[in-house]
């Protein structure tokens, strides 16, 4: 019978935190059953993806960097996971204007907000939105429904026509049920996120290289989540390698999910032409003392 191995055990094995006896037991199991090794390989890919997406807990991240990334082969593999993520993001940005209009503006923010809450709450929120829309329809639209129905019936004979636009203003975007295929779209702001990680090693010497896809308005710079930041305002300063000042913006710490204290800063893409940059974090009270420095290269597709 196939041994059952849970995801946490496999992650602990890959991160080097599984006790040796348990590790040996797991190894005996996957030597006996190569399908189990395939499953472990899949967990390994998920682990790398979580690392490059900055989704690991601080403890797991530390184990990942100290144990897993100690192997040059693993570093290469993780670099490929990062490259795959970048390529996938570029691909998404390429197809977004055609198919992904719902990813922008209020609608995108609503979906992002909802995606950050537990599933039961999310469904409750969606149900509430549907209810609000129905109440609004009953009070604002229904009295005129009979007349509208006749005109709609006449128009329904012409299926190729665009949908009728009634003079009544539509409900605001957050009140729209998420299943609505055509929510009103406010001015579009497309943002791309770049993860600044201090993965600069002797063997894999490289600075973080980011490609800005076409159509992007803003660049969000995301710093590693385990930063020790002082109280008060934190700034992000961007300079060229020869110390020419480019931009200073406020940093935002927090994030919507518990345990994620990612620090981010948003810069209009037009203010970061292609080139190399040094990015410094600093307390507003002590702007001359950098809390961390990162190097990045920005290019355009």
């Amino acid at each position: 019978m196939r041994p059952t191995v849970d995801n946490e055990t496999v992650r602990a094995y890959l991160l080097g935190t599984l006790p040796e006896t348990d590790a040996a037991r797991l190894e005996q199991a996957y030597f006996a059953d190569s399908a189990l090794a395939d499953e472990i390989a899949a967990v390994e890919q998920d682990l790398m993806d979580a690392y490059v997406r900055d989704e690991l807990s601080a403890v797991e991240r530390q184990s990942f960097e100290e144990h897993y990334l100690a192997s040059p082969v693993h570093r290469q593999r993780t670099a490929m996971a990062a490259a795959l993520r970048t390529a996938a993001a570029e691909h998404r940005a390429d197809v977004a204007p055609a198919t992904g209009a719902h990813e922008s503006g209020l609608w995108r923010r609503s979906v992002e907000f909802l995606s950050g809450v537990p599933t039961p709450l999310r469904w409750s929120a969606m149900a509430a939105a549907v209810l609000i829309a129905l109440v609004w329809w009953a009070t604002a639209i229904a009295p005129d429904a009979g007349e509208d129905a006749r005109s709609r019936q006449a128009q329904s004979d012409q299926p190729s026509n665009p949908p009728t636009v009634t003079p009544t203003p539509p409900p605001k975007a957050p009140e729209q049920p998420p299943s609505n295929p055509d929510p009103p779209i406010p001015a579009r702001t497309t943002r791309v996120t770049f993860l600044l990680a201090q993965v600069v090693t002797r063997n894999d010497s490289q600075q973080a290289a980011f490609v800005v896809p076409p159509g992007v308005d803003e660049i969000e710079l995301r710093f590693p989540p385990d930063l020790q930041l002082p109280a008060g305002r934190v700034l992000v300063e961007i300079r060229t390698p020869d110390e020419v000042f480019v931009k200073r913006v406020p940093a935002t710490a927090g994030g919507s999910s518990i345990g994620n204290r990612a620090v981010t800063a948003v810069v209009p893409q037009a203010e970061l032409p292609s080139g190399d940059y040094l990015v410094s974090l600093m307390a507003a009270a002590e702007p001359n003392v950098p809390l961390g420095r990162y190097s990045m290269r920005i290019t355009r597709k």
Binding site: F31, E65, E66, A70, S71, M80, A83, L84, A88, V199
Partner: protein, 248 residues
């Protein structure tokens, strides 16, 4: 005619054997401590000829077609099954060394297979060949870990270096080239599968599976196979660019 058909049917396996022997036998023939052996082993990067790992080079025993055939005979009832089991076992060994952080997992897997073949050749009683191979692999791992300078460095032990302005990352270049080599449909599936972050990823993958009329598991397998292919291509390309002489 019958002989010809048999030859055709076994062509894959014979090609496999030829590849295996071409890779292994010359190393076993190397004279102990010759400068050529030292240079070859140093280039391959897995072990030092002066260390315990060099037993494969020093020993009088060598893998040949006969001993390899005996190993294959233990792995399966016919050529096809044996070839498949051999590949499974080698892949598992590579993964074992890789997950244990060994730099050249393939080389060490071959060492373990050589030793397994040797035990069979010496008529050692082996009840479970996979469990026995695991025991050998642990010994090889132990030998590997005892070698000076083989302990991997943690990321924070490494130091940043200055990179010249015109330096291009070969891995990224190779990755892009290999990605372009995928068929457009396959590339689209792969990029869509890995596009979204966090919870949006789950919804995106459900939508992709529906588009492709696949189950979630089938989609995951397909994406993983494509990613493995991309990874193999990228690593091979990177190796060729980094060590063009070694790859010739």
């Amino acid at each position: 005619m019958q002989q010809q058909n048999g030859k055709d049917a076994d062509e894959t396996f014979h090609a496999h054997l030829r590849g295996k022997l071409a890779r292994i036998v010359p190393a076993a023939h190397v004279v102990v401590n010759s400068a050529e052996a030292v240079a070859a082993c140093t280039r391959r990067g897995c072990y030092d000829v002066k260390s315990p790992m060099s037993s494969r080079v020093r020993t009088d025993w060598q893998l040949n077609a006969e001993t390899l055939a005996r190993l294959m005979g233990r792995l399966g009832r016919d050529v096809a099954e044996a070839g498949e089991q051999y590949e499974h076992l080698r892949r598992t060994l590579v993964r074992f060394f890789d997950w244990r952080g060994v730099n050249d997992a393939s080389e060490c897997a071959d060492i373990a297979l050589d030793r397994l073949a040797r035990k069979i050749d010496e008529n050692v009683e082996i009840a479970n060949i996979q469990a026995f191979a695991y025991g050998i692999a642990r010994h090889v791992l132990l030998e590997q870990s005892r070698q000076p300078g083989m302990r991997p460095a943690a990321l924070h032990d490494l130091r940043a270096v200055d990179v010249p302005e015109d330096t291009r990352d070969p891995l990224r270049d190779c990755f892009d080239a290999c990605l372009q080599q995928l068929a457009p449909d396959a590339r689209s599936v792969l990029l869509r599968y890995y596009a979204a972050d966090r919870r949006a990823r789950i919804d995106a993958r459900i939508a992709l599976a529906q588009d492709l009329r696949l189950s979630q598991n089938a989609l995951r397998s397909r994406a993983q196979r494509l990613r493995d292919r991309l990874e193999r291509c990228t690593l091979q390309c990177t190796r060729q660019r980094t060590f063009p002489e070694a790859s010739r």
